[in-house]
C-alpha cells in the first residue's frame, strides 16, 4: 500500500530538508573529527538518511525509539531536528541532550520518546522488548521500535529477543539497518545467510525487506508494519538495506574497501534519489534543493554558535550526584 503518496506535498518536500539537516550535521561532525574537536568517538550515518527519516515519519508520538551507537539520524528525526542539543552533547556541554554525560553513543530524550540508545551492539534489542511489555501491560497505545544494524543480528541477545517478542506477543518493531558493514566486517562474510529478515520469520515473526535508501519505500514499509503491530499486537521485523558512506567511527581508515567499491553506492545517494522522486512528482527542483542545503547548513552553523555560547560542562560534583537516583517510592 502506497501510504507515502497520500501525504501532503509540503510534508513530502520537508523530508528532503530533513535528510539534508542530518547530512549537513554529519558532514560537519566529520570535518570537526579531522580537527579532533570532539573528546570521544562518533559513528556517522551519512548514506542512511532515508532509512531513519522515512522510518520516523511513519511513527506516532506515542511510539518509542530505542536506538544504537549510530543514532544521530534517528535522534534528529525523532527530536525535532534539534541539532543544538546533539552537538552540545558531543562537545560534552551541559546544554547537551544528556548534559554531556552520555555522549554521541548514549543519547536519550524520554520526553520525545527517544527513550535511549546504547553503545553495546544489540544491547537495545531486549530493552525494546521490555518497553513493548510495558505498553502491553498497561494497555497503552504505541509500539516500541528497536533500531540496530546487521552486526547486531549476530548477537545472541538479539535472537533471544525475537523469541521473547514472538512468545509474548508484544508490540515491537525490530528495525534492522543493514548498512553492509559491522565495523570492518562485510555482511556477506559475517552473516550466515545474508537475508537477515528471514531469521525473524524463523521465530514466527512477520518480516520484510525494504530498500532502505528509498524514502517512500521505507515509509510505506514502516507504516505497514506499524499497522500490523497495532492491530495484531504482534512483533514485526524490517531489514532496511542501506549503505554506510563513512567508516565505522572516526578512527576508521577504510582499509577494507576501496573508493571503487564505494562509488556505485555513493552514486545511489538516498538524498539524490529522493530529489528525483520529488522532481517526478513536481514537488521540488534544483533551486529548492539548493535552498534546503543552505538552510540545513545554516542550522548546523547556528548550533555550533549555540555550543560556543555554552556555560560549559557539568562539574564533577554535579556528575557524581547523578550516579544513582537514591529515591524510594
Amino acid at each position: 500500500m502506497d501510504h507515502f503518496s497520500r501525504l501532503e506535498g509540503t510534508v513530502r518536500t520537508r523530508q528532503l530538508r530533513n535528510m539534508l539537516i542530518i547530512r549537513k550535521c554529519e558532514e560537519t561532525i566529520d570535518r570537526l573529527n579531522t580537527e579532533n574537536a570532539f573528546h570521544g568517538t562518533n559513528h556517522l550515518c551519512m548514506g542512511q538518511e532515508a532509512s531513519c527519516v522515512g522510518a520516523v515519519l511513519a511513527l506516532g508520538d506515542e511510539d518509542w525509539i530505542i536506538s544504537n551507537h549510530r543514532g544521530h539520524g534517528f535522534y534528529l528525526a525523532r527530536c525535532s531536528y534539534d541539532v543544538n542539543r546533539l552537538l552540545a552533547e558531543m562537545f560534552g556541554l551541559r546544554e547537551g541532550a544528556c548534559m554531556g554525560l552520555g555522549g554521541s553513543m548514549h543519547i536519550s530524550d524520554a520526553d520525545r520518546h527517544y527513550l535511549c540508545s546504547t553503545g553495546v551492539v544489540a544491547g537495545g534489542v531486549p530493552i525494546s522488548v521490555g518497553v513493548a511489555m510495558d505498553l502491553k501491560y498497561h494497555s497503552l497505545p504505541g509500539i516500541a521500535v528497536s533500531t540496530f544494524g546487521d552486526g547486531a543480528s549476530n548477537q545472541g541477545m538479539a535472537l533471544e529477543s525475537l523469541n521473547l517478542a514472538s512468545l509474548w506477543e508484544v508490540p515491537v518493531l525490530f528495525y534492522c539497518e543493514n548498512n553492509r558493514y559491522a565495523v570492518s566486517s562485510p555482511s556477506e562474510r559475517f552473516v550466515a545467510n545474508t537475508t537477515i529478515w528471514e531469521r525473524a520469520a524463523g521465530f514466527g515473526i512477520r518480516s520484510m525487506k525494504v530498500d532502505g535508501n528509498d524514502l517512500p519505500a521505507v515509509y510505506n514499509a514502516v507504516s505497514q508494519a506499524r499497522e500490523y503491530i497495532t492491530t495484531e499486537r504482534r512483533p514485526c521485523f524490517i531489514e532496511a538495506e542501506t549503505y554506510r558512506f563513512n567508516g565505522h567511527s572516526r578512527s576508521d581508515k577504510l582499509l577494507y574497501r576501496s573508493p571503487q567499491d564505494e562509488e556505485p553506492h555513493r552514486n545511489a545517494d538516498p538524498i539524490l534519489r529522493y530529489l528525483d522522486y520529488l522532481k517526478n512528482e513536481s514537488l521540488a527542483d534544483d533551486a529548492l534543493m539548493d535552498q534546503y542545503s543552505r538552510e540545513a547548513q545554516q542550522l548546523v552553523q547556528e548550533a555550533l554558535g549555540f555550543c560556543e555560547a555554552s556555560s560549559g560542562p557539568l562539574t564533577l560534583e554535579e556528575a557524581l550526584s547523578l550516579v544513582r537516583s537514591g529515591v524510594s517510592r
Partner: protein
C-alpha cells in the same frame, strides 16, 4: 511469627506486588513451578501469569527486557536461579541498568531487582555455588544487598523493590531453611545500614550473608572460650555502612573479616581498607581475613566443607588473634 528466609522472600514479593501493580516477577519457572528455590510459590495463583512471568532460558534477553520495562516505570523483580548465571545478565545489568540514570543526566531510572541465590554448601559444585557479588561491587550505579536472616531478607527486599535504582539481591541457599521472627505486612530495612547481630567487646567479626550465620555460631563457641565477639552483619554491601564498621572496631579494637568468596581481588580487601582507614589507629593487632580457598567450589562434600570458612575456623582464627 517465625518464618523461614525462603518464606520471608515470598512474603516480601507478595507485599510489594499487593501494594504496587507495577511490580512484576520474571524468570525461569517462577510460575506454577514456584521458582528455582520455591521463592515465588503461590504468586502466580494470586497475581496471574501477566504479573508472574515465566521466561524461556534466555537470561540475557529477559533481563534486558526487564531493563526496558523498568525504564518505562514498571518494577520488575527478576529471578536468576543461580547467581553463577548472572554472568549471562552482565550486559543488561552492568552496561545498561547501572548506567542509564547517569547517561541520561538523571532523566531515566531503572527500578529493578535481580534476586539470585548464591553460595556453596549444597553440593551443587563449581558452576552453581559461587559468590559472585564481588563482581558487581565495582560497578557504580548498582546497589548490592545480601541479607543473612529472614527478618532482614523481607525488609530489605521490600526496600529494594521500592528503590528507583537497580539492585543485585543475593540470597543464600544455606539461609533459605533458617527461621526467625518475621512480622506480617510490609516493613522496610534501610539500604546502607549494617546490623550488629551480637554485641561483643573483644573483636568485631565483619561478614554478610551466610558467613554472618557462621560468625554468630563462632561467637557462641567463643563465649565458652571466654572471648566476647561482636558480629557485624553488613546486609548492604554497596552502599556500605562504614560508620557502623568504624564504631564497632573502635570499641573492640580488633577485626576479622569473613567472606565466602576467595579473598584475592575481592570485597574483603575493601573491608580491610575501610577498617584501617576509619579505625586503624585503635587496632591492637593486624586485621585478619578469612575467605574461601582460591579454587572453584568442589563437588566432594568433604572438600567443599573444608574450602569455605565455618564456625570452627572463625573460632580458631579469633583465638589466634587474641593469643
Amino acid at each position: 511469627m517465625k518464618k523461614t528466609y525462603l518464606q520471608a522472600v515470598t512474603d516480601a514479593l507478595d507485599c510489594a506486588m499487593g501494594s504496587d501493580p507495577n511490580v512484576v516477577v520474571m524468570g525461569e519457572d517462577v510460575g506454577v513451578y514456584g521458582g528455582g528455590m520455591g521463592a515465588t510459590r503461590g504468586l502466580v495463583e494470586k497475581y496471574s501469569s501477566s504479573r508472574v512471568i515465566d521466561t524461556p532460558i534466555s537470561e540475557t534477553a529477559f533481563t534486558g527486557a526487564a531493563v526496558g520495562c523498568a525504564l518505562m516505570g514498571m518494577r520488575p523483580v527478576v529471578e536468576i536461579i543461580f547467581s553463577d548465571f548472572t554472568s549471562l545478565t552482565a550486559d543488561p545489568v552492568i552496561n545498561h541498568a547501572a548506567k542509564y540514570h547517569f547517561m541520561s543526566a538523571g532523566t531515566l531510572s531503572v527500578p529493578m531487582v535481580i534476586r539470585t541465590p548464591m553460595g556453596a554448601g549444597t553440593g551443587a559444585a563449581a558452576q552453581h555455588s559461587q559468590s559472585v557479588e564481588n563482581m558487581y561491587l565495582n560497578v557504580p550505579g548498582l546497589v548490592v544487598l545480601a541479607p543473612s536472616d529472614a527478618y532482614d531478607a523481607k525488609g530489605l527486599l521490600i526496600s529494594a523493590i521500592e528503590l528507583d535504582d537497580p539492585v543485585m539481591f543475593f540470597e543464600h541457599k544455606k539461609c533459605y531453611p533458617m527461621s526467625s521472627d518475621v512480622p506480617e505486612g510490609s516493613y522496610r530495612i534501610p539500604i546502607g545500614k549494617a546490623d550488629i547481630k551480637k554485641q561483643g567487646s573483644d573483636i568485631s567479626i565483619i561478614s554478610y550473608s551466610y558467613m554472618s550465620c557462621a560468625a554468630l555460631e563462632a561467637a557462641a563457641l567463643l563465649e565458652e572460650d571466654g572471648i566476647s565477639a561482636e558480629v557485624v552483619d553488613l546486609r548492604s554491601l554497596r552502599p556500605l555502612d562504614t560508620q557502623t564498621i568504624a564504631e564497632s572496631v573502635g570499641r573492640t579494637r580488633r577485626a576479622l573479616i569473613v567472606t565466602e568468596a576467595p579473598v584475592f581481588g575481592g570485597f574483603s580487601g575493601e573491608l580491610e581498607s575501610v577498617v584501617y582507614e576509619t579505625a586503624g589507629s585503635s587496632l591492637l593487632c593486624p586485621v585478619r581475613r578469612l575467605g574461601g580457598e582460591e579454587m572453584p567450589v568442589a563437588y566432594s562434600e568433604s572438600i567443599e566443607a573444608q574450602q569455605i570458612p565455618d564456625a570452627q575456623r572463625i573460632r580458631k582464627t579469633v583465638k589466634e588473634m587474641l593469643s
